[in-house]
């Protein structure tokens, strides 16, 4: 029995136990324990992260003559680490006080833990797939498992889940069509056969396959124009579930794109294919999809007034960075893209958890109904602060390192517009995350929030651990870059040479240990200066300049709504909801078509159709 078997068995056990123990009050802790066991098992397979041998599962099936295999290489291991890690964070967060409150409000924490465990199992299977058929099976399992997680909240969540599953099925069907074409070309579903035949494919075949797979897998990433489902569906999931989904779920699409398009079909072929009447190659087209997927969702996020939706929209935008980096195809870009998967998972989970903590205490995530919570929930504030610095990609957090790698490769490879597009995304992110933290934690504390306290330890510990990871991997990115390097090798890409602090190169290096140290040194100087001044006196929040008026507790003195009025005045007209219009018109088309279809069964006498059909088919043969 290989380690992989053990891992999958423990995962299966987690699913079974959480499934059976729905009524057990401490089910959350059992799930957390079992997920910890999964994480430990994965760490025991840790050699993979440093260029170890591929681990095969000792089981395998042959169905209808097609072998199904599972194996873990460095790439699978890297993604699995993120999956289990974020599931563990979510599960631990939900296990204690949060779960108790959730139960009191009529929710079923056992079901939530079960869905998380099920998702983990499905993802572990997908990540271990050793051929296209098991990849597709894993893909579908992940899709349907995440539907479960999305709809357990009931109410509006079911609508969004429904919308998700339509998109997901459409994607899956595109993938299925691609698989069928590959099967026709190679006669098998094996990776090696596809890789062997790929160089001999003609342009049409490459384009068809690429577009089918990109469409199919891209839907899970929320790439434009198939981005509408994601934010709503993620945001309506119960808190810890959102953290898990937001951290890793849509990265499964990236994993599949990596394996099928980049590894098997090969990016080099995509670069060779020119799109007629444009200066773009097929690869450039995909990069532009990624770039637009950065910009538009980021600016949609900027407009949200619900904390969870805001973060969920950013999740889509950040996915674009990963894809763009990986498509550049140099060691810097691909390392940046892969590393961003890890980094994004850590800070996004931390952010969602801190928003959940706020919801836990205040019962709302409406950014216009919060404010000033920093004095009541300082730890949650700290987590969110670290999280938003990571999300915005500012030193010293880990998000900066991965984005730096992506920027750098775009600069050196000479892709100005894509570079600008990704920077615009970052700037938009800074604006929007400041609004998030400002409206939640800064400014005036509302009267009804006077008496709330910090969330219990069972919730702060997972958040703080995540934040610590965000900082440490920003301080010493080499820790993650080791794994990323092995994953690059597994993908057949050039490996990024790196140091513990970043990269060393004549064309511009990065040493985060120095940068962070100097930054904190700078803060120390700033603090020294500040505290050398005369001692400051703390005043009440109402002791404030109000143009000569007296402030009382019932005066709303917090600027939150329409936060970037000037910017919206200018770009507001760009939010025309064209994609929503597109979606709803598609629905109307299907609706009227089906109305027409039903008409056939409702109105005339069927015998007439019989005669018409006979006439037509006789005409078909004789005429």
């Amino acid at each position: 029995m290989s380690m992989l078997d053990t891992l999958l068995l423990i995962s299966l056990l987690t699913v079974l136990l959480t499934g059976l123990g729905q009524r057990v009050t401490f089910i959350g802790w059992i799930a957390t324990l079992l997920l910890t066991a999964q994480l430990l098992t994965l760490l025991l397979m840790g050699k993979l992260g440093y260029g170890g041998e591929i681990i095969d599962a000792s089981f395998g099936f042959s169905i209808l003559g097609q072998p199904l295999n599972w194996r873990y290489d460095a790439l699978s291991w890297f993604f699995a680490l993120i999956t289990i890690g974020s599931a563990l964070a979510g599960s631990a967060f939900a296990a204690g006080a949060w779960g108790d409150q959730y139960r009191k409000e009529g929710g079923n924490p056992g079901l939530l833990q079960f869905s998380i465990a099920l998702n983990v199992l499905a993802m572990l299977l997908l990540l271990g797939s050793g051929d296209l058929l098991s990849l597709f099976i894993g893909w579908e399992l992940v899709s349907w498992a995440s539907l479960l997680l999305m709809v357990i909240a009931g109410g509006r969540a079911s609508e969004f889940g429904m919308r998700y599953i339509v998109y997901a099925t459409a994607g899956a069907m595109a993938v299925l069509a691609g698989l069928a074409i590959i099967f026709q070309l190679t006669g098998s579903f094996a990776y090696d056969d596809l890789a062997a035949v790929a160089p001999a494919l003609n342009t049409l075949q490459i384009v068809t396959l690429t577009l089918l797979f990109f469409f199919g897998f891209g839907i899970k990433m929320g790439l434009l124009p198939f981005h509408l489902w994601q934010a709503d569906a993620y945001a309506e999931t119960p808190g810890p579930g959102t953290a898990f989904l937001g951290a890793i779920s849509s990265r499964m699409g990236l994993y599949a794109i990596l394996v099928v398009i980049i590894q098997l079909i090969g990016l080099v072929r995509l670069i060779e294919i020119e799109i007629p009447y444009s200066f773009l190659s097929l690869r450039d087209l995909l990069m532009w999809v990624a770039a637009i997927s950065i910009i538009i969702p980021t600016f949609i996020a900027l407009r949200q007034s619900d904390a969870r939706r805001l973060l969920a929209w950013h999740g889509i935008g950040q996915g674009g960075y990963m894809l763009i980096g990986l498509l550049v195809l140099d060691p810097y870009g691909s390392a940046g893209g892969l590393m961003h998967v890890f980094n994004h998972a850590t800070y996004q989970a931390a952010l969602f958890l801190s928003v959940s903590a706020v919801i836990y205490r205040t019962r709302t995530s409406d950014l216009n109904r919060l404010g000033g919570l920093v004095t009541r929930m300082p730890l949650s504030f700290l987590v969110m602060l670290i999280g938003i610095i990571g999300l915005a990609g500012i030193p010293p957090m880990n998000g900066f390192v991965s984005k730096w790698l992506v920027y750098r490769s775009l600069i050196i490879e000479g892709m100005p517009l894509l570079f600008v597009a990704s920077v615009i995304g970052t700037l938009g992110t800074i604006l929007s995350v400041y609004k998030l933290i400002h409206n939640t934690f800064l400014g005036q504390l509302r009267l009804e929030h006077e008496h709330i306290r910090e969330v219990p330890l069972s919730m702060t510990i997972p958040m703080l651990v995540l934040s610590a990871i965000v900082f440490i991997t920003g301080f010493m990115p080499g820790l993650v870059l080791d794994w990323v390097g092995s994953a690059q090798v597994a993908l057949g890409m050039p490996q990024l040479a790196h140091t513990l602090g970043g990269v060393e190169s004549t064309q511009g290096s990065l040493d985060m240990i120095w940068v962070c140290s100097v930054l904190f040194g700078g803060f120390a100087v700033g603090a020294l200066l500040f505290y050398s001044g005369n001692k400051a006196k703390r005043v009440h929040q109402l002791d404030n300049y109000a143009g000569g008026h007296f402030l009382t507790a019932d005066v709303r003195y917090h600027y939150s709504d329409n936060f970037y009025a000037g910017l919206m005045h200018h770009i507001g007209s760009w939010y025309r909801g064209s994609f929503l219009w597109l979606e709803s018109s598609l629905i109307s088309v299907v609706s009227s078509l089906s109305g027409g279809a039903q008409l056939l069964y409702n109105s005339f006498h069927p015998a007439l159709y019989l005669l018409m059909a006979i006439t037509l088919s006789l005409y078909f043969f004789i005429g």
Binding site: V374, A392, I394, P395, F400, W404, R408, I411, I412, G414, P416, V420, V423, L427, G428, L431, Y434, H438, L442, G443, Q444, L445, G501, T506, Q507, G508, S509, L510, D511, W514, V515, V518, L519, F520, G521, G522, F523, G526, A527, L529, F530, G533, N534, K535, A536, K537, R538, V539, N544, Y545, A546, G547, H558, Y559, F563, Y564, G566, L567, H569, H570
Partner: protein
């Protein structure tokens, strides 16, 4: 090895110090220029320093909470750190370990710090000011970043040390401004906007939102912002000099270039009125961005 680390640490300590002193003189120059234009005498030599000392030593020091304090610390500290990434004659600091992109993003730390501090004050005037300031940042950072791309692509490196070395090796003909004149103009534009001086100082708007971010700032808080401004002037001009004017061969030419670069936006600032935020976006996104893209196109072909 240990020696070079010690040397680097020494440089990292010295560079912000130099920056602070030069920055003080830049503030002085700015005020003097304004006074000349308005036919006044202007402040004496040490007035900026006196101002800072006065603010730090004031009796009344109003704090709105820990984040208010930390915001000011971040605002100053971020610039202190950024100076270590800006090479000056004889000192490279950690410029080779960070590079252009890191510098650009490190320069956002002070803005974020200021924003956090202001947010904690619970004053809508401050928040509105920050909202405008961040929007303005979104506006001028786009041409700025295109300029950075063009320069980095042209010199094939994001390392400021090697960018400066390449320029100096070829004399004035090799300077960024001679090779990329259009980018240099766009860069100047972005530099001006980034300083937040007239006509781009809507987020302060004393009459409308009670000086915006500064509304709850007094004493050492305002003093911190003053220090921040000295660093800001220094950083912006040195960065421009390093990118387009060949950096500093020696301290004399270096300082002349820096002050000259700074004089241009300062002169313009006192000759023009104020723009609304949205006008600012329109203006900055139109002309400098177009210029910068044009410049990049020339660099890349």
């Amino acid at each position: 090895m240990a020696n070079s680390i010690l040397l680097t640490i020494l440089e990292v300590i010295l560079m912000p110090l130099v920056a602070f002193i030069v920055g003080l003189f830049m503030v002085l120059m700015m005020r003097k220029l304004a006074a000349k234009l308005q036919r006044r005498v202007g402040p004496p030599l040490f007035q900026p320093l006196y101002d800072i000392v006065k603010l730090y030593g004031k009796q009344t020091q109003i704090s709105h909470g820990l984040i208010h304090d930390i915001g000011i610390i971040m605002a100053v500290g971020g610039y202190v750190a950024a100076e270590a990434l800006l090479p000056v004659p004889g000192m490279d600091g950690i410029a080779a370990k960070g590079g252009l992109v890191t510098l650009a993003y490190l320069m956002m730390v002070p803005s974020l710090g200021l924003a956090l501090g202001v947010g904690q004050c619970a004053n809508p005037n401050g928040s509105i000011g920050i909202s405008r300031a961040l929007t303005a940042m979104l506006a001028y950072d786009i041409p700025f970043i295109i300029v950075i791309f063009g320069v980095a692509y042209h010199f094939g490196s994001t390392n400021l040390v090697s960018i400066i070395a390449t320029q100096q090796a070829e004399g004035i003909a090799g300077w960024g401004i001679s090779e990329m004149p259009i980018l240099a103009i766009a860069g100047l534009f972005a530099l001006h906007a980034s300083l937040g001086k007239q006509p781009f100082e809507i987020y302060i708007a004393p009459a409308e939102i009670a000086t915006g971010p500064m509304v709850e700032m007094g004493g050492k808080f305002l003093g911190g912002l003053f220090v921040m401004q000295t660093f800001q002037l220094y950083t912006a001009s040195v960065l421009y000099v390093s990118l387009f004017l060949g950096g500093g061969e020696n301290w004399v030419t270096f300082l002349i270039k820096c002050f000259a670069v700074l004089a241009i936006p300062v002169l313009i600032a006192y000759l023009f009125p104020r723009y609304r935020t949205e006008d600012l976006i329109r203006l900055v996104w139109k002309w400098p961005v177009m210029l910068a893209l044009l410049g990049v196109a020339f660099v890349m072909n």
